[in-house]
């Protein structure tokens, strides 16, 4: 290894102007000192130590306002790492990274996706976006598990915790964060590919049986405790878990078989809301709905090599009851949800350079809301059947893929009072041409349904001028007719079914033009060594012909029921948003890794209603993740997040005021706001018993700063998690 060193001096932060708030300053300084102590302690007054990769030196300078952290001087060796394996607009989370961050529920994976942003109302379900693209426009990204496409799990809302996979089965998550064709489907916001472990130790060749059990339980602070018996009584707080995952697999040199089951419990309500849920969801004969949501899931997967081809299957089912569902009624209406699916894939090499892939998938989702005392409610089911075939040519400098897909969708209410069937047919092609350091990718996708066509295309260039640099740029344009979002049919034809207010909902909906999206992005990645990576990214998103529906609600007492009292429609809405971001990952001492990320989003232009619907301030996000493994088998980590205020309206506010804790029970408005948020999570994990037992202790929201997102949302308070995984 070459000893020649490069020196980079990076102006890091001037905390004086940023952290004038004492509430922020104290914990940040405490954390900073904690993190940098090893650097200061080891290096102060001494020659810089000989470490194999990268070292850091904190340069503390005094300032008028006290201690100021002015510069971070980074030294690193000149050992170079070729960036050819790096792919722009892509994030990869390995099992080690997921475990190192003590992820305890699937939705917490979003916390590790730096370029993704999102919000959650109930702590279980997240509405997310990549690169500041789409928030409030449903979900425009897709999910696959071992290549099998998984449907959106709730109308217009992906609950990551409903995905049919157990957390302890995940080997790797590959997140693509740009528009493109993934598994035959054009997704405007990227895709998340979850890969499960096929043998006991991931990529190694260990074969045979493997069985694992994972358990997690958590509790928010601020329960009433013994003061429940006194005049100092206070609302109860939420409890998470116990969550239990059981998974087992058997692997041979030609195939594998997996089975897993999951249980998830989430007590979502405090005492007053619990009482309200019981009132609303009176089931008769002294039976009440439970304020605790429960998920049960079972999955079965397998694969086998037959001749030169590979066959894989995946099937399973999920039943989740009493989900505290936000949209569109408000958080307080639990629904129950069922999801069953099955998928089969076949990959067959035809020649040395030509390969065939075929797959068939069936998904059925059944969300339903229990009827209230007035008998109002909704139930509907959606069936998706997808057949897909593709031919892939892989040459030395050229890759070509072409394929087609047919999707049959059938949506109906359970009593069959409303039914909608549709067939979507699509063809696509992808051409990747490499010439020296330059790679050009062109993709085109054409979908047809309802007599309309939806063309989409993407053009992308990747340039590797040196082994340390990579520059990528893409442009994408797509058309999105109504049928692109199947859930829309349900809401269009039913308005808010079962709730008074829309007597003729179908007639009330105006004609819409197909929405269009044009987007572009660029990224520069610098990887001078294996322990240093700098990524800058920018993207811009232009949406036209958007359709907005603004709804007004009133609360009906005593059931505290949201009653729909009117809707105003707005067509031809448009907006242009952009985001820039910077991510720096570096390893200081061996085993001590930091990831610093910052992003800035801005709405450049928008029509009035669109801007009103998306009442965001200029979104600013900064995160610092630190992971330290001082010795093998023992890890500690911290995750500090700053986020500027983000507000939006789901429904019209009656009086325009923000609601406070419990006021939602008595006032007639609905307004959402996150932040400004300063959140600190930290935890540690220890592996025992020759790495067969892992114990995690996690503290989330250590600053105990309320989100103001929802008065009883999870992580509203400091939450203490215990998680344990055993390999049997």
């Amino acid at each position: 290894m070459s000893k020649q060193r490069l020196i980079y001096r990076i102006v890091f932060f001037r905390f004086r102007s940023v952290l004038v708030n004492k509430r922020v300053l104290v914990p940040v300084l405490a954390l900073t000192i904690g993190l940098l102590n090893p650097l200061y302690g080891h290096n102060s007054g001494k020659e810089f130590p000989e470490v194999p990769h990268l070292s850091t030196l904190a340069d503390f300078v005094s300032a008028e306002t006290g201690l100021s952290f002015k510069y971070l001087t980074v030294y690193f060796s000149s050992d170079t790492t070729n960036t050819s394996s790096y792919k722009a607009f892509q994030t990869i989370l390995t099992r080690e990274e997921i475990q190192a961050a003590s992820v305890s529920r699937l939705h917490e994976l979003f916390l590790l996706m730096d370029h993704w942003n999102g919000y959650t109302i109930n702590g279980q379900d997240w509405n997310t976006e990549a690169n500041g693209s789409f928030i409030l426009n449903n979900t425009n990204w897709s999910v696959t598990i071992d290549g099998h496409p998984i449907q959106q799990t709730l109308p217009g809302w992906v609950s990551f915790n409903h995905l049919p996979v157990s957390l302890n089965q995940i080997e790797k998550v590959i997140i693509t964060e740009a528009p493109g064709i993934y598994r035959g489907t054009f997704t405007r916001g990227g895709a998340i590919h979850i890969l499960t472990r096929k043998n006991p130790n991931g990529d190694s060749q260990d074969l045979g049986w493997d069985a694992r059990v994972r358990m997690m339980t958590a509790n928010e602070i601020n329960d009433p405790g013994p003061y429940a018996y006194t005049p100092l009584n206070s609302p109860n707080e939420e409890r998470l878990g116990p969550d239990i995952d059981l998974s087992t697999s058997y692997t041979t040199d030609r195939g594998y078989l997996q089975a897993s089951g999951s249980v998830m419990r989430h007590r979502t309500t405090d005492t007053p809301i619990e009482q309200r849920v019981k009132q609303m969801l009176f089931l008769g004969d002294r039976q009440f709905a439970s304020p605790t949501s429960k998920k049960h899931a079972f999955h079965l997967a397998g694969g086998h090599q037959i001749g030169s081809g590979d066959l894989s299957i995946r099937t399973g089912g999920t039943h989740h009851s009493e989900i505290a569902f936000l949209r569109p009624y408000g958080r307080d209406l639990p629904i129950q949800f069922r999801h069953t699916y099955a998928g089969i894939q076949w990959a067959q090499p035809l020649t040395e350079t030509l390969r065939f892939q075929g797959s068939g998938t069936w998904n059925r989702v059944d969300p339903g809301q229990r009827a209230n005392r007035e008998g109002a409610g909704f139930n509907f089911s959606r069936n998706n059947r997808i057949l897909r075939g593709a031919l892939l040519f892989s040459g030395k400098d050229r890759q070509v893929e072409t394929g087609g897909q047919v999707e049959w969708i059938n949506t109906e209410t359970w009593n069959r009072s409303w039914q909608f069937s549709q067939r979507q047919t699509s063809v696509y092609g992808r051409w990747i041409e490499s010439a020296g350091p330059l790679t050009v990718t062109a993709e085109a996708h054409l979908a047809v349904a309802e007599g309309e066509t939806a063309p989409s295309f993407t053009l992308r260039t990747d340039w590797h001028p040196t082994s340390q640099h990579q520059v990528t740029a893409w442009f994408s344009h797509s058309l999105a007719p109504d049928w692109i979002s199947p859930d829309y049919w349900f809401w269009r034809d039913n308005g808010y079914p079962g709730i008074s207010g829309l007597d003729s909902p179908v007639a009330a909906f105006p004609e819409r033009k197909p929405a269009t999206l044009s987007s572009a992005g660029t990224e520069w990645n610098l990887t001078p060594s294996g322990s240093f990576q700098l990524t800058t990214r920018g993207s811009i998103w232009r949406q036209s012909n958007l359709f907005l529906a603004r709804r007004q609600f009133q609360i009906v007492r005593p059931e505290q029921w949201f009653s729909h009292s009117g809707t105003t429609f707005h067509t031809d809405q448009e907006s242009t948003r952009g985001q820039i971001s910077l991510r720096l990952r570096f390893t200081s001492l061996p085993g001590l890794t930091h990831t610093l990320f910052g992003s800035l989003s801005r709405v450049f232009s928008a029509t009035d209603e669109r801007r009103r619907a998306l009442q965001e301030t200029e979104a600013r996000t900064a995160t610092l993740r630190t992971n330290w493994e001082p010795v093998a088998g023992f890890r500690i980590w911290s995750h500090l997040r700053f986020q500027a205020e983000r507000t939006w309206h789901e429904f019209d506010s009656v009086n325009g005021e923000l609601y406070q804790d419990q006021q939602q029970l008595t006032t007639n408005h609905y307004h959402n706001q996150t932040g400004p948020l300063t959140q600190l999570d930290a935890g540690g994990s220890k592996r025992f018993w020759n790495d067969r037992l892992t114990l995690d202790l996690i503290l989330r929201n250590i600053l105990n700063q309320p989100y103001q997102l929802h008065p009883v949302g999870v992580n509203h308070e400091l939450t203490f998690f215990i998680q344990m995984e055993v390999q049997l």
Binding site: G34, I221, G225, A228, Y229, V631, G684, W689, L718
Partner: protein
């Protein structure tokens, strides 16, 4: 105290960073089991206006953990109501702690540690709101230990524990107990490492 939970991981990180220094001071690789009884129990004025903390007991076990030692402890701390309108409560504190012992002389040893855990409160009798309740706890411990024999020691400790209920509960215990040290069993050493 509101930021105590934040300072815990920072303190942990900070102290671990001085591993070369502390490692020399760490104890021999021996495990300990013991019990102690409270000589004095106190609480914040708000809690003490409703309940007394009359007695209780702890059992614990500790073992070497890289730098310093880890302690698992269960403390039974009953709460006796001052008025008939409140019920008596049982409080079981289960904590995991980490600290750095320092051998002052051959016989004297002292240490400080931090701990986090769970407070499990329940009514010993049936009645209104009898569902048990759990809450996060965190706190500090300091102790002084005098070796009576090669294996048996007398340990005096002071523990400050905060239970993070909506109205915080601060408990202070002065304790005295006996501990028994033994060589860390191979299976435990392997299990931990």
């Amino acid at each position: 105290m509101r930021r105590a939970a934040l300072l815990l991981p920072c303190l942990l990180i900070s102290v671990l960073c001085y591993s070369p220094t502390l490692h020399a001071q760490s104890s021999a690789p021996s495990a300990t089991i013991g019990f102690d009884l409270p000589l004095h129990s106190g609480s914040d004025s708000q809690l003490s206006s409703y309940w007394d903390l009359p007695s209780g007991a702890s059992i614990y076990g500790s073992f070497p953990f890289y730098i310093g030692e880890m302690e698992l402890r269960a403390t039974w701390a009953p709460m006796r109501a001052r008025e008939i309108s409140q019920p008596d409560l049982n409080n079981l504190l289960t904590t995991i702690g980490w600290g750095v012992p320092v051998q002052i002389t051959r016989r004297f040893r002292m240490g400080v540690s931090i701990h986090i855990g769970n407070s499990f409160m329940y009514r010993p009798e049936h009645g209104f709101l009898e569902n048990p309740e759990s809450e996060f706890t965190a706190g500090f411990v300091s102790y002084l230990q005098i070796s009576l024999t090669k294996r048996i020691a007398l340990r005096a400790s002071a523990r400050a524990t905060r239970i993070y209920t909506y109205h915080r509960m601060d408990l202070v215990h002065g304790k005295l107990g006996l501990s028994y040290a033994f060589r860390t069993p191979t299976w435990l050493h392997r299990f931990v490492q």
